[in-house]
Symmetry: C2
Subunit: 202 residues, 2 copies
């Protein structure tokens, strides 16, 4: 049921195909209009076919966002995997990975944090987001245990770093981070400023 070239009538795995098509569209366009009919069109099926797999348009969007959070989590874990010199360096790597992820998938990243991806009505999406957030929490707790980060409440550290990194990512993909400088300098410098407030001694 995999590669019969002539889509006879039943697609085989339309659900997966729709998700892949939608992800591709999201990756291609910063534009981000995303009509369900266009997804169906590009997947080569009728415009009503998606409704056999997703209750409505937003359900597909939330599934895409869920996949996005999983991928982001993988990026974060991957970025800080090796034995790095310091927890601070690990944080730096994870933050850059997050911003890099946003730059490479701006449409998906926007979706993940848009009101279309309502986590309060979608437990799997909520869990995926929390799981990715947990990676950050783990890093912060580790940093406090090994005396890298100051003993502020973890929720304060988490809020600060989550907001900072997310804010940098959003501003970067919106090109609102100072027009004159296109280089990543201000991003790195901004992260250093934050880390100076988080770490014991710089």
């Amino acid at each position: 049921m995999s590669e019969t070239k002539d889509r006879p009538y039943h697609h085989g795995d339309l659900r997966r195909a729709l998700i892949d098509t939608a992800l591709a569209m999201l990756a291609a366009e910063q534009n981000w209009t995303f009509t369900l009919r266009e997804v169906a069109r590009r997947a080569g099926v009728s415009h009503a076919a998606p409704y056999k797999h997703f209750r409505d348009r937003e359900m597909l969007l939330r599934e895409l966002a869920r996949i996005g959070f999983i991928r982001l989590g993988e990026s974060l874990s991957g970025a800080m995997s090796p034995n790095m010199p310091s927890t601070r360096a690990q944080f730096m790597a994870a933050a850059q990975a997050c911003i890099g992820f946003a730059c490479q998938n701006p449409g998906l990243y926007r979706l993940m944090f848009s009101s279309d991806a309502d986590k309060t009505i979608d437990p799997p999406l909520h869990d995926a987001a929390m799981s990715t957030f947990g990676i950050l929490l783990g890093l912060l707790e580790r940093g406090q245990r090994d005396q890298s980060f100051r003993p502020v409440s973890v929720s304060a550290l988490a809020a600060a770093s989550w907001a900072q990194v997310h804010g940098l990512a959003m501003l970067t993909i919106s090109h609102q981070l100072l027009e004159e400088t296109v280089e990543p300098e201000p991003v790195l410098a901004a992260l250093d400023v934050l880390l100076d407030g988080m770490c014991y001694t710089d």
Copy 2:
């Protein structure tokens, strides 16, 4: 031409009325669907009337965003007006004002930073955003002159604080800032973490 109660045919100042109606809708709903026809309906005119004042839907959205930036700038200026003990305190007040503005106008705030409000094709909007951003820059430069903030490059300080405050605002209005604590504690604590990295001695 101001308050003829019976809208006879010509509205008087439909442009203003449309903006006000749209702002009211934005304030009321977190939902943020915003159809131009609905605005026209609530303003009591036909659905094509708005096109006499705005080339398309997005032009109205950008005008709303522009007004939003102006109002945000007023909030910021107002919050740090009196003679405060320290530049750090001024920064704290401005940051809280920004987050408070976002909480009171979540729809408008989202619009201001959404891709619908494309600053690269709308000079007046761009100017308004830059003007508000300039308030932050001014505060940072003042803080460096009076030795409150460390002599890092201003663009680094600006990126850090802009991203942090914007990130906190977005996460707050999305209720993504830790589910268990509804209080503003983590926000204030997060700002303190940032300020510890920006200031010389706490």
